[in-house]
């Protein structure tokens, strides 16, 4: 099917060259529907070989035309064919200018579906297509961030403000708990490596495996949402599929597309932490409230004298203005039989976190070669390098420390020389005045003492052969390779390793390397068969083999005097022969000479063998039906469940072609589709069926050990989702107003849970298919050209998706049995995935200032007992959507993207320490509204250092006091573009140029009092990622950015 599009392209791009004796010419200019000149339009004289294609200025010229009457045909894909009869006079030339008209039916175009393309009209599943302009309009390194608000039912929560951080993408709710809940990403037919936890959660951040894909190389993104669309992906289609198609060469000649972008990065909000005198006052108040006298002993062993002299604003020390730049060049080149696209890009995305940036250098080429009339070779490859210059955040330090344990009474430097006295009375310098202060968290010392770089090399390549042995039968073979080389290099300077000048630890270099190779090969046969004028069939059969291998070394570490920088700058250090001569006391000594941990090898391997078939039936171009089926076998599935079968069936009906609808005179287009199918989710870690024994080579008493780590489960298998979907597409006023309503219900069973059995089993977790989840919802899309005049156009698109999510079973386990890592959410039957399970806070007792909670029966109690937890609050929004506007006035264009999320709660998890029991955490200024004396009605309890005052033994008191409404409406992007007309500079002729100024995340409407209502925190594991979006824990705010962009086409 794909080659069908390209055939049309080839025809369009074909050049007709003739030699003739006449010297009269037909010339002219072709314009598009907006009056812009239009390149690449084929103009030919019917029933002859004469013709031309319009150039970059829309001009064409057909030379040597004899006088007489001709029929000129103007064609361009997506536009209606124009036919005009002209007469060439006896002398002189003829000028024919034309305005092309968009063909709503054709331009609406081709949609990429699994293993092919379909005309949009014929599609019976739920698919949303996102165009390239929408993909590159956000200065985030990774394309998925730009999908936010642009497709109904696709919830995108942008990663935090950390450079390169990963967004959470959920299609039509969430139906997985322990297995990956992300959609399947397929780039040019390859299901790519998309593991967010290749590097775990190091430094308060998860690796984003999509960040090395340059959004500028993407031609389109098609989001498959229901079983009719994703059924062909079988055991991996349940959470939706995102198909990414990269740009290919088109048309003859050469075309350049250059863009440059410069911008700045700022936080959307700043933490409001106490300053030194405020902190001291409140800390002492807590001390005295607890019945103590005298001055409270301060954290970090700081004396009151020193504390009063110090006032460090750690937020200022960790947040600055980030600088962004990006340059991209795309070249499209066409020859007679070959079309090629080349893209190169460089970008450096600095963020507001001082020292943090993501740099990407990328190259892609896609080449199509028509080897013979019925044989075409396609080749594509990309190579990119992403370098993340990391800083610690959240729980790991940096801004996270500034929001918690880095107190304003802590100085950055010692300020005066500090001596310690030996037993014999001698004194030694312990800290010089200019040394970093080390008695507590010091984010500046942490940043200066550490160099941290995560580098990813990524290459996605594929070769594809399309062969048409007989008419309408296309046999295709594709072979693809996806390679990832991920290296986390951490260098910890001795300044950070030594707390004082008496310590003598060496600097430490660590490396965490991971390699993933992912092979995919498939063969398909596609046969189009027209039984008669009314009945057409398309048959697809295929098979696919995919193998993914993940290798890594754990933590190669060296710490000895020869370590002076990270491994990537001191490759010698990686040489095992290079053993230090001298070992400094305090260094941990290697078991393997030179290495503390020679890097225990971890390997994961999995594969899929699949067979699939699809039949599309078209009756009278009005009635469409599709059935598909896929059989997936995978090494991830247990021996008792090796193969899964995934069928789907769907139908579409173009009602607007029926007389009874036409007669209404209301609809310019009306289409009804419905589908049902079974799809799966196979995002389980490798080898879970086997159980495992671990080996440690050098352990207790310097002897090896081996032990049972996980029990086996030969029954483990995919999650199964049964999806029903129906949609109605409508067009009014010649499709100036369009709308689509979809409803769906998705029943997922055998939901994979990584359960915690009784700890006394000695096992931590194992995987089992236990749960059931229901998702159901409605999606609405409305698009309109509200104003559509020659000079002024206002295009507006609105979408909203409502999803209801409920867990209906988790087997015999309790809500706490599904380990959620650090999250504060639980799996509760009858509640949505990701339910806050909390003790209810009632009020502050006005007599005692103590917090009052509610027990299970709703009775007030001073005791905080987690046995009184109830499911309360949801982390998933009920509704998400976006509103996109474009106002075009002559050469000016203004764009506005607004996104919103309704009905979610945010659990501001760190505020229980910032606003709860007074500890060695700094507090936020909200705490001023605290109880101070009997009779006070205050938002926060009496200040205390004793957890008993809060009725608990711990300051980690989770209550719904920290649960907030998370509704927000965010002005995602406002842009102003000026399009220059074509112009010439010296010999260079520019077809188009534009300048765009834009502001991102510059305005947000929300009730949420914390930093930012849009939260994708750092996640410990897949459970966390599914269940805890909207749980904030010292999470950096989102980025606000201002960007100036230049585009040139020539």
């Amino acid at each position: 099917m794909k080659s069908y599009t390209q055939k049309i392209l080839t025809v369009v791009g074909a050049l007709f060259i003739t030699v003739s004796a006449f010297s009269q010419n037909i010339t002219g200019t072709v314009y598009d529907e907006k009056g812009q000149t239009m390149p690449g339009v084929t103009v030919r004289i019917e029933a002859s070989t004469k013709g031309d294609a319009s150039d970059m200025d829309g001009k064409y010229s057909i030379e040597n035309v004899a006088p007489g009457q001709y029929t000129l045909v103007f064609t361009f894909i997506g536009y209606k064919d124009l036919v005009q009869t002209v007469t060439m006079p006896a002398t002189g030339n003829l000028t024919v200018n034309k305005n092309m008209e968009v063909d709503a039916e054709v331009l609406s175009e081709f949609v990429v579906v699994g293993y092919g393309v379909q005309r949009k009209r014929e599609v019976t599943g739920s698919i949303t297509t996102v165009k390239p302009k929408d993909i590159t309009d956000i200065p985030a390194p990774s394309f998925e961030a730009a999908l936010q608000g642009k497709a109904a039912g696709v919830q995108v929560t942008q990663g935090s403000g950390m450079a390169g951080s990963a967004s959470v993408v959920r299609i039509r709710g969430i139906a997985s708990i322990s297995a990956g809940g992300d959609p399947l990403y397929v780039v040019d037919g390859i299901p790519i490596t998309q593991d967010y936890f290749l590097n775990g959660n190091r430094g308060g951040m998860n690796t984003n495996p999509l960040a090395t894909i340059n959004p500028n190389d993407i031609e389109s993104i098609d989001i498959l949402k229901d079983a009719a669309a994703t059924g062909i992906y079988g055991s991996r289609g349940a959470n939706g599929v995102i198909l990414i198609t990269t740009k290919r060469g088109r048309n003859k000649g050469v075309k350049f597309d250059f863009s440059a972008r410069l911008g700045t990065s700022h936080p959307t909000a700043r933490p409001n932490m106490l300053n030194s005198s405020q902190y001291l006052q409140l800390y002492q108040e807590a001390w005295e409230n607890d019945g103590n006298v005298g001055l409270a002993p301060l954290p970090g062993g700081v004396s009151w004298d020193d504390a009063r002299k110090t006032d460090t604003d750690w937020v200022d020390e960790t947040i600055g203005v980030g600088f962004k730049q990006a340059y991209n060049l795309g070249v499209s080149r066409g020859w007679d039989k070959v079309n090629a696209f080349f893209g190169v890009g460089y970008e450096d995305n600095g963020t507001f976190l001082i020292g943090n940036s993501y740099e990407r250098t990328s190259f892609r080429t896609n080449i199509d070669w028509q080897l013979a009339k019925n044989l075409k070779l396609g080749f594509g490859t990309s190579l990119s390098r992403g370098v993340n210059n990391r800083v610690s955040a959240a729980w790991s330090g940096g801004l996270g420390d500034a929001m918690s344990t880095a107190l304003p009474i802590y100085p950055i430097y010692w300020g005066t020389d500090k001596y310690s006295y030996l037993a014999n009375g001698d004194s030694v310098l312990e800290h010089a005045a200019t040394d970093f202060w080390t008695n507590g968290p010091n984010p500046v010392r942490q940043r200066e003492g550490q160099e941290w770089r995560t580098q990813e090399w990524r290459s996605l390549s594929n070769v594809r052969l399309d062969y048409e042995p007989v008419k309408n039968l296309i046999v295709s073979g594709s072979f693809a390779f996806d390679y990832m080389d991920l290296r986390d290099d951490i260098y910890t300077d001795k300044l950070l390793r030594n707390a004082n000048r008496l310590q003598n630890f060496s600097s430490r270099a660590e490396r965490y390397p991971t390699w993933v190779d992912n092979w995919n090969t498939n063969v398909t046969a596609n046969y189009m068969y027209d039984l008669d004028d009314n009945n057409s069939f398309t048959f697809l059969v295929g098979s696919e083999y995919q193998q993914s291998r993940n290798r890594g070394l754990n933590n190669i570490t060296r710490e000895d005097p020869s370590v002076t920088g990270p491994f990537f700058r001191n490759r010698d250090l990686l040489n095992q022969e290079f053993i230090p001569q001298e070992i400094v006391e305090g260094d941990t000594i290697a078991a393997v000479p030179g290495f503390i941990n020679g890097g225990s090898r971890v390997t994961g391997r999995s594969n899929f063998i699949s067979y699939f078939a699809r039949v599309n039936y078209d009756f009278k171009r009005k009635y469409f039906a599709q059935v598909s089926a896929r059989v997936d076998g995978s090494s991830k599935f247990g021996a008792n469940n090796r193969y899964g079968f995934f069928p789907s069936a769907s139908a579409g009906w173009i009602l607007s072609d029926e007389a009874f609808i036409e007669d209404l005179g209301v609809f310019s287009f009306l289409k009804l589709t419905a589908g049902v199918g079974l799809v799966g989710n196979a995002a389980i870690p490798d080898y879970q069926q086997y159980g495992s024994f671990a080996i440690v080579e050098n352990s207790y008493n310097n002897e090896p050990i081996r032990f049972l780590a996980t029990p086996s489960n030969p029954d483990i298998r995919w999650e199964t989702a049964n999806i029903i979907d129906a949609s109605l597409e409508m067009g009014f006023f010649e499709d100036r107003l369009t709308s689509k309503i979809s409803v769906y219900k998705k029943n997922t069973r055998d939901v994979l849970l990584n359960v915690s059995p009784q700890p006394s089993t000695g096992f931590d977790n194992f995987w089992d298919n236990l749960g059931r989840i229901v998702n159901q919802g409605v999606e609405l899309e409305i698009g309109a050209n509200i104003i559509d005049s020659r000079d002024f156009i206002w295009r507006s698109d609105l979408n909203i998706a409502y999803n209801d999510n409920k867990i209906t079973s988790i087997g015999d386990y309790s809500p706490d049995a599904v380990s959620g890592g650090t999250n504060d959410t639980r799996v509760v039957v009858g509640a949505p995935v990701g339910t806050n399970f909390l003790v209810r806070f009632s009020h502050v007792d006005s007599e005692t200032g103590r917090p009052v909670y509610l027990d299970l029966n709703g009775n007030p109690t001073f005791t905080w007992d987690p046995a009184n937890r109830v499911p309360i609050g949801r982390v998933l929004p009920k509704a998400v959507g976006g509103w996109t506007n474009t106002w075009t006035y002559k050469r000016w264009e203004v764009g506005l993207v607004v996104v919103y999320s309704l009905g979610a709660n945010i659990y501001d998890s760190s505020s229980k320490r910032q606003l709860g029991v007074v500890t060695d955490w700094n507090m936020r200024t909200e705490i001023f509204d605290r109880w101070r004396q009997p009779g006070d009605e205050a938002a926060f309890p009496r200040l205390t250092r004793l957890t008993e005052t809060h009725g608990a033994g711990t300051p980690w008191i989770n209550t719904d006091m920290w649960l907030h409404q998370g509704d927000y409406m965010r002005f995602r992007r406002l842009s102003v573009t000026y399009n220059l007309p074509s112009f010439t500079v010296g010999a260079m002729k520019f077809d188009r140029a534009s300048v765009t100024a834009s502001a991102m995340n510059f305005f947000t409407i929300t009730n949420f009092g914390g930093l930012d209502p849009e939260i994708a925190r750092d996640f410990e594991n897949v459970n966390d990622r599914n269940m805890s979006p909207n749980i904030s824990y010292l999470t950096p705010p989102q980025e606000m950015s201002f960007v100036l962009q230049f585009n040139l086409n020539f």
Binding site: V470, S543, S635, V696, S699, N701, G762, P866, T947
Partner: protein, 459 residues
């Protein structure tokens, strides 16, 4: 004809597609061992057994002892460790990470011990080896079950027949949910494991468990059960027949040599000069006076420990910050040290106290006390007279025991034992059997038939 050609090509395409249908491709076994292939020779079994020691070493590196110690009256409330502060308040909730860790570590040891026992039959071994493997595994299983039931349940004697709730008894590796056994049932399993271990462990066994360790543990178990006769006789056997002798120097947290009196120790194997496979972190990191000290002493403890001076008093220091004075111990300041789990000191103090209960062989008891005292004070000034009566001996044994076995959690168990025996014991103003004196289980331990402990009640 045309359709025939199409059919031919379709058939060829189908044949091509089926090329990939190789069933074997779906068998991707991990590089890591799977349980069915992990243990195939005696060396593997030895490595499996060593993994039990490994986990025990990561349990008795201080983390289990600290939990017991925090319940008692030796320490003040920690200000920097929230989990520990909760234990100290004797109000642990089922999310307490440090408590959960101690619990899990103990049961990991039990799982691995059971894994050893289940694998013994799968490989060919000499009869002696069969017995040794099983005896070592059962010794370690008994140690873990015993300490878990002491920390997570009310003590032996809390109910007349010890039918009160104990912990789960695990004797197989299957991850089945189990109900809560009674304390009596847990002690039965512990004793039967130790009797087997005592009979089948070797006399000497490098750094691993030997038969004296089993006997010493039996003495400790019987002491806890108020079976003073058995406690004294096992202690006597160890003192008199084993190769282990009371150390001359006071500290038995030695390195690189293991203290001469350590019957069974957690061993930090040397890995170079001043470097070891360090298995003492939870002591050092919490007590050391060289770092931010987390666990600090009650002033009453400090005064009692230092009032007579002598070598033992040098283990204690005091520091001030603004208006506040803190008391700390430097006993765990060293970078490396082994941790005796069972010692001759304990055996002598157990014997002395047991004999005082029995009112038998009091001269032996006095001698035990005086050996300890003269070592602690560096002189004989505080020795008991030869004529000391049973009450004096009992009181002296308990007093010395508090300091000699400080920070091991022993103090808490002695107070519980005495409370269960009928003494009127208050620990930091709360009865010895207030609910919070039993640590709370991790939340997922709770299933039908396994109720959690009641909480609080100690403040």
């Amino acid at each position: 004809m045309k359709s025939f050609k199409t059919l031919t090509i379709l058939a060829a395409a189908a044949a091509l597609l089926s090329l990939t249908s190789c069933e074997d491709l779906l068998d991707k076994k991990p590089d890591q061992l799977t349980p069915d292939e992990a243990i195939t020779n005696p060396q593997h079994l030895q490595e499996l057994l060593n993994s039990v020691y490994d986990i025990a070493a990561n349990t008795y590196d201080g983390r289990l002892q600290n939990l017991g110690e925090l319940l008692g009256d030796n320490l003040i409330r920690p200000t920097q460790n929230d989990d520990y502060a909760e234990v100290w308040q004797r109000n642990t909730i089922f999310f307490n990470g440090s408590v959960g860790d101690g619990f899990r570590q103990s049961y990991r040891a039990i799982l691995r011990a059971n894994s050893v026992i289940e694998n013994i039959g799968n490989i060919s071994l000499s009869e002696d080896e069969v017995l040794r493997f099983e005896a070592e595994a059962r010794f370690l299983r008994a140690l873990a079950h015993f300490d878990v039931v002491r920390l997570f349940a009310q003590p032996y004697g809390f109910t007349p027949s010890n039918t009160h709730f104990g912990v789960a008894i695990r004797t197989f590796t299957r991850p089945d949910a189990l109900p809560r056994s009674t304390v009596a049932e847990v002690y039965d399993v512990v004793i039967s494991d130790l009797i087997f271990a005592e009979a089948n462990l070797p006399d000497q066994n490098d750094v691993y468990a030997n038969k004296w360790a089993a006997k010493a543990l039996l003495s400790r178990v019987y002491f806890q059960m108020h079976e003073y006769n058995l406690a004294a006789s096992y202690a006597t056997e160890v003192i008199e027949s084993s190769p282990f002798t009371l150390a001359d120097t006071l500290t038995f947290y030695t390195w690189p040599e293991v203290s001469s009196e350590a019957i069974f120790a957690i061993y930090s194997a040397p890995r170079g000069e001043n470097v070891s496979d360090n298995r003492s972190g939870a002591f050092r990191n919490n007590y050391s006076t060289l770092v931010n000290t987390i666990l600090r002493l009650q002033p009453e403890y400090y005064n009692a420990a230092t009032t007579n001076g002598g070598p033992r008093a040098t283990f204690y220091e005091q520091t001030t910050q603004d208006d506040n004075t803190f008391f700390e111990t430097n006993i765990f300041n060293a970078d490396n040290f082994h941790i005796p789990v069972l010692s001759i000191t304990e055996m002598r103090l157990t014997r002395a106290e047991a004999l005082s209960y029995l009112n038998l062989n009091l001269t032996t008891a006095v001698n035990d006390i005086n050996l300890i005292r003269s070592r602690a004070y560096g002189n004989d000034l505080f020795n008991l007279p030869e004529s000391a009566n049973a009450d004096q001996i009992k009181s002296a044994a308990r007093n010395e025991r508090r300091f000699e076995l400080a920070f091991t959690g022993d103090r808490t168990q002695q107070l519980k034992r005495r409370g269960a025996e009928g003494e009127d014991i208050l620990i930091r103003n709360a009865p010895w059997d207030c609910p919070g004196m039993a640590l709370q289980f991790p939340v997922t331990e709770q299933v039908d038939g396994f109720p959690l402990n009641p909480t609080g009640g100690c403040n």
